[in-house]
């Protein structure tokens, strides 16, 4: 990528593909992600739901690395409007976005913070792992998006969550959570947005990684010692991923944990700079790796 490119002019598709290839990807820019659903064990039994949907002609395939995820091969009707959907028996949730909650693995003993929670796919997934025990504090600054979160909490049978309409950056700097999910606002990726290449500017990426660093700072201050922070984005930009994690390691007493998920290790040589070797513990899901959108996941433990 041209280092003198104006931050206000959209980068070209070729610029991005060239950048991703320089980081080790073999993608083309034409990848897609299949439609997927997540079974909700709070509301139904997994085998019963699969039998019910199969009997109605829905063709599903279990995703081997997800606890409750199924790929939708075909369906004779809209799975976003079935009776089982309305009853909260499943959630339509992209493959990679099912990983953060699964990897954070909160239990009914945890006090969890979800820092950018709407529309609630990951919040409701964490509630399921917690069996409606413990507490989830779900925060989002956008009131309109919170309506969707509240509807999803109700539909999915969630009972252990308190929701706040506020900016996570305004939370008090007190270590009061055992686990934190920061699925950060980010630049997104071309797999889930067909117009992505035409509108993404350098300035967006700069704005996003600065915001993400503020959120990471806040997350560390809110986390108890020994507590786990799961940081994820659906961006492929190194500034929002490995470079943010490098910054986190340089500025706070945290260590990265191993991640049991598909994809590639975090990249440790970016723009000629060598990063901390432990960043290889992060996972970067290139869209051509395992058929997901672009995604990045890091798990840090506060020392």
């Amino acid at each position: 990528m041209d280092g003198t490119h104006s931050p206000l002019i959209p980068l070209s598709r070729e610029d991005f593909i060239e950048l991703y290839q320089s980081l080790g990807a073999t993608l083309t820019g034409d990848e897609v992600t299949p439609k997927t659903l997540r079974v909700n064990p709070l509301a139904t039994d997994e085998s019963t739901l699969i039998k019910t949907l199969t009997a109605q002609g829905v063709d599903l395939e279990k995703i081997p690395f997800l606890d409750y995820g199924y790929r939708i091969i075909s369906s004779p009707f809209s799975l976003g409007a079935s009776i089982e959907y309305l009853l909260g028996h499943y959630f339509l949730q992209e493959t990679a976005s099912q990983l953060p909650a699964q990897l954070l693995a909160p239990s009914g003993e945890d006090n969890v913070l979800d820092m950018a929670s709407a529309p609630g796919g990951k919040t409701t997934q964490m509630a399921a792992y917690m069996g409606n025990g413990g507490v989830i504090t779900a925060v989002d600054v956008n009131r309109l998006r919170l309506y969707a979160l509240e509807n999803n909490l109700e539909r999915m049978g969630v009972r252990n969550t308190v929701v706040y309409n506020m900016d996570s950056l305004d939370l008090p700097d007190e270590p009061m959570f055992t686990k934190i999910l920061l699925d950060a606002p980010c630049s997104g990726n071309y797999v889930t947005d067909s117009r992505w290449f035409g509108k993404r500017k350098k300035a967006h990426i700069q704005h996003n990684f600065m915001m993400q660093r503020k959120l990471l700072t806040k997350a560390v201050s809110l986390l108890e010692k020994g507590g786990a922070l799961l940081y994820s984005t659906c961006s492929l930009e190194p500034e929002e991923n490995e470079l943010n994690v490098q910054w986190l390691l340089e500025n706070y007493d945290v260590k990265l944990g191993d991640i049991d998920a598909p994809g590639s290790p975090g990249v440790t040589e970016i723009f000629g700079d060598l990063l901390d070797e432990s960043i290889k513990k992060c996972r970067r899901l290139w869209p051509n790796d395992v058929g997901t959108q672009g995604f990045f996941i890091a798990r840090a433990v506060k020392q």
Binding site: L86, T137, E150, R155, G157, R159, T161
Partner: protein, 144 residues
């Protein structure tokens, strides 16, 4: 509280929740430990429903009532259930069976298998008898 209690009595439930938390006209029970400013809170714990002209029960409350033996129920098959969740009334001929004391002019839960998909009032419509749709879980699609 009055509309919630009235709804519970109408469908034959013995459930009488106490110590409700009200946020923006929504009723909650068993709130979780809240550590942040109360004025920023929009949802907490188990959502029971909200007051409009009559009480609008939550999905959580409907499924709780579905498990109660005492509640009045009308069971329907998949086709009738589908019509009901898109806001339609159910003709008596499409009701598989009633459970509990369901009389004309009274209310009942509408059941699809073990799940409650809403509630209605058993009444006459011309020469026909129907369960008139008062609320159904298709509301999730209509409210977004």
């Amino acid at each position: 509280m009055r509309l919630l209690r009235k709804f519970l009595i109408q469908v034959g439930s013995k459930y009488r929740p106490e110590d409700l938390l009200t946020i923006n006209n929504k009723r909650f029970i068993e709130p979780v430990d809240a550590r942040l400013p109360r004025d920023k809170m929009t949802y907490n714990g188990q959502y029971l429903g909200m007051n409009r002209k009559w009480f609008i029960p939550s999905n959580l409350l409907l499924q709780k009532l579905a498990k109660e033996e005492e509640t009045k129920k009308a069971y329907v098959d998949r086709d009738a259930a589908w019509f009901f969740v898109v806001g339609r009334d159910i003709f008596e001929e499409n009701i598989q069976r009633f459970e509990g004391d369901v009389k004309l002019g009274r209310y009942c839960l509408v059941m699809y298998g073990e799940s409650c998909i809403g509630y209605g009032r058993y009444e006459t419509s011309g020469s026909l008898r129907v369960v008139k749709n008062m609320f159904d879980v298709g509301d999730f699609l209509r409210r977004e």
